[in-house]
Symmetry: D2
Subunit: 343 residues, 4 copies
């Protein structure tokens, strides 16, 4: 590896920012040239995230303090809403991987509907490429601005998209039941994310109105060539990392399995289990791998499709790095092949 | 309270046995006269379950050592298969609440199909009453042998039975997605139930072939007056207690909510949340209460029905005690009204 | 039980307030006549704590709205600092059990030192009785204002106080190592109490400067009849409830065990394990029981003394109720004998 | 990196075996040539550990099936007792890193005392080098057989050894209080390691008689040049990975901190926090790093010394790999610099 690219991370004091640092720390083709976290500016990242204290990193600064001249690519791990404003102010030739929700929906009306406000950078929105790597690889290679997917959305999309493309399931009968871990909620203090509130129990949240429905609608409809609306119920379970999708679909189970296996046969990170087996989130923890499975229902013509991934890696920061590798002309899997951490 | 009944617990060294002791310890109408645990005979219960060491209890004995002459009612918390043999050998006039799976299925063919062996006490099977208290209350009052329901089964039945009875959902389009805690797997050492194997992750198990499907088939078909087969996917989450059902059904959401609220309007332990709200298992932990909710899907004519209960209380030992109260002519709720433990 | 006393709970929207409601809900001698929570006034308690939604309770009001004329006793579960101001404004003949830290230290200078401000109600401070029931029982019976102990303090005091009184340990060589669960930190959102921050790990906090040192100094010095200063290191572990003290002391281990067993021989809630055994917090969870143990070190003249209790019950709300029983002339153990919840 | 060494792992179906595979999977200087697991022979490692299913690995075989001719180094991750028998039968010129307890104690009498049986390979025991890398680096480089340390032992040794060497603490007044996670207990099913038994609570175990005391005695006495006996109390906390030592020592706190910082100034994996700060296990999870801290007690001349590491990495498999790097002439830190996984 000769060339080493200089990258900046905006929003380094959140979990996805820290996860980018963790992954890039041993990446042979990238160097962290700047770290921004407006409210923590002046501190070291090791003060904010002690698990990274052994690393030799630049101090946290404000975004305004960064000289973007020498930066090859920016990871933007800022909150939704903030991201579009910050990115609109960055140099127009800068490669950007955005991890927020701001550029995921191509249709400004869909954005306004799901996020409750007008988009502030509609021209950038038109330019952005949706970051589901295995489905938009060629576009991402050429893109200047890539929009990271929602972590829940990615999990559901990996389970269902190839089945719609292959035409092996009924597009009107898709139910996505999902269980997610807690780190997806971020590091901002909220009563409902306290350990005492979330441990030792499970519940559904944002039922039938989770914003990732916007991504499902967009991608499923595109894949099916017609309007597709799914039912989607996310649940919160007492674990730090991991998303499990259990999708209920209609179709011939063995054909469904075959379609999934075919679609991902050459994918390094998408592992389709043998027919009849189902994955566990703990077996992909801390890694960029996705485990997928198909099990026949006892009723003919019905199947359950499962997908498990780590929300902070393949669901956000690992995906972002995979896309950045493509954008910089690096091998796509570089720095991402570490095995999951179990137990 | 004048009369105090003498009860025996067979299988006191398992979690459901210990939970019966916990509940009966402060029950004003029952006294624990005998505790059997064949492999731990000779020990005190406090040695086997230190959380009960403050109680003044009879020593653990073998079943053969118990004089059933003075016993008013027996709780049988033995493993599946063992239970039918033990109960067949007990005095024929003894009231029995069985917590195993042995007498749940009325049809011997169904038993053989789901449990992989012929029933050893088919005459007792015919006599047994299914222990879903709120639906079989009158039969239970007169019963000699009551079969406790499966804990997963109970959760799904509470969510769906009134809807089939009221005819407000399509019986052919029921999907029961379920998440259960770990205590339901019992206290026998198994690799897959080690803390390191189960914590920090989620996965589905026994997909499309869980034995509680036998109970669903039996009870849903009876309620609908026709054959009903549901799709059922159980998951295991890292929590000790609690079961959450997320059921996907077809019907008018507000009518569904009304049917559920009507059915349970006079029930002490079944709490239907306001329309649009969903329950959490942690809010029923350690208690005999069930929280139920109905939320409309974004697609018309579809809804999610939720039910949450504690598998060791309302799902087994609390249910057993509620049934025993009825069988002994005691107030049904006696000893069962303690509030949930949160956090 | 003929007489039923009317009680009010101030600060009902915190964990100790909710725990009081849980315990009093099945208490035969008390009725909850008023619930105050200034910021949640107007809501029902079931909205704030859904696990209590089945109870028939008065609405949450502001403290100012309560008519204290008919109230027999007030539980004050307000934050430190607020408590002394509120209590100073209450009718002077009202019986009060305060769960905050405001009246625990008899010496105003000690209060100022540990809490960093002057006490606002020094006359009340002089009147308050320290609420460690088993050691101040007679005073509590006659008290108007009882100050609940710190939950960490209570655990350490139960382990050590009888040993100092009996003179069986060296007062200059006491180390109290402690592990506490997370509910003790309360329900206010704090980054460091998020599930993602606290689960799957352990660390020490407030080392050598935890405020409960003030209580240790006060009570140990009184028991020993001389100045006693201990070393104290609290740790935070990923569990909701429970405190475990491991105290390192100098003395003859068997004499230490005998002194502890003698001191607590007639206590309902303090259970001394056989010599050589050590307790687990999970075996007292949700209950008012304390399990204590003594194990000899391999080096002669040294021992470890262990104590385990539930911080929200015996460490605060259960203790408060036990003291209230005494103040109202009710049996001391009334409403507090429920067995621990395990698993 | 030109040379790639062929290694074999004996005992690949346990947690330390799997952790070796995880670490070596991305190690540029080693290739896994053979994996043995007698009871799972014939299976793929992915069947036994699904988190490793994406790796291209040799099938599991019995030890007898391995041709050791082409193997450069063997990792032996077998149970205690089995290890010495297996290693005694291996070719005498084979480099071996043993992860069991069999070769940790140099003195056969100490081995017999702590493990309750005579050693079966005393000549090998004499040859073995204790694997605490930073203290035995030069011996390890030249060693044929290296004995991995106990994971608890390593944590305590890192905290205390430099202080004894520097003479800044009183060797007669050392108390090591320790909290460990659950993966250290291994994958064999045991009732006391079930999720329902270990979650949501904490307790001490093997008090004053844990076998790692043998390692403390050996290493502390050697460092101090005289007999040193410490007090040691291990606890089990509900977390998968991580060990935290809280050591209570006598000496000048700032000198203690300086001695620790000096000793580890050039060590890549041993990070001494600023004076007054204490570590958390979650900040080293999944990594080979150790975080150490020193905090002054409020009583002069006393201090608490803290050390946190991951029991499966720096406490066993990472340590083994670090030693193997030295034995093979590879850079010591190769394949071990991945940052911790948080949250």
């Amino acid at each position: 590896m000769e060339q080493v690219f200089d990258v900046a991370i905006l929003g380094a004091s959140g979990y996805t920012g820290a996860e980018l640092v963790r992954l890039i720390a041993t990446h042979p083709g990238m160097r962290i040239a700047a770290l921004a976290a407006d409210r923590k500016a002046g501190q070291s990242l090791g003060q904010v995230f002690p698990h990274l204290r052994h690393l030799d990193l630049p101090k946290l600064v404000t975004i305004a303090e960064i000289d973007f001249a020498g930066i090859d690519l920016v990871f933007c791990a800022l909150p939704h809403g903030t991201s579009q404003e910050v990115i609109a102010a960055l140099p127009r030739d800068l490669r950007i991987v955005d991890l927020s929700a701001d550029f995921r929906l191509r249709d400004p009306a869909a954005y306004a509907r799901w996020y409750g406000r007008e988009h502030q950078a509609p021209d950038l929105q038109a330019e952005a490429v949706y970051g589901l790597t295995e489905f938009y690889r060629d576009d991402i290679r050429k893109a200047r601005l890539v929009a990271g997917t929602g972590c829940n959305a990615a999990t559901g999309l990996y389970a269902i998209l190839p089945l719609l493309r292959a035409g092996v399931i009924d597009p009107d009968e898709i139910i996505i039941d999902l269980v997610t871990g807690i780190s997806g909620a971020g590091r901002s203090p909220k009563e409902e994310m306290l350990h005492a509130e979330t441990s030792e129990g499970i519940h559904a949240y944002n039922i039938a109105r989770h914003r990732h429905l916007g991504e499902f609608d967009q991608e499923f409809s595109r894949a099916a060539g017609r309007r597709v609306e799914v039912t989607f119920t996310p649940h919160l379970a007492p674990m730090n990392r991991g998303i499990l999708v259990t999708a209920y679909v209609r179709g011939e189970p063995e054909r469904i399995h075959a379609a999934l296996a075919d679609a991902y046969a050459d994918e390094r990170f998408l592992v389709v289990l043998p027919y009849g087996e189902a994955p566990a989130t703990r077996h992909v923890r801390g890694s960029n791998y996705v485990h997928l499975g198909v099990v026949a229902d006892r009723r003919p013509g019905r199947a359950m499709v499962f997908a498990a991934l780590d929300n902070l890696v393949k669901g956000s920061s690992g995906q972002a790095l995979q896309n950045a590798n493509l954008m910089l002309g690096l091998p796509e899997t570089l720095g991402l092949e570490a095995a999951p951490l179990f137990p």
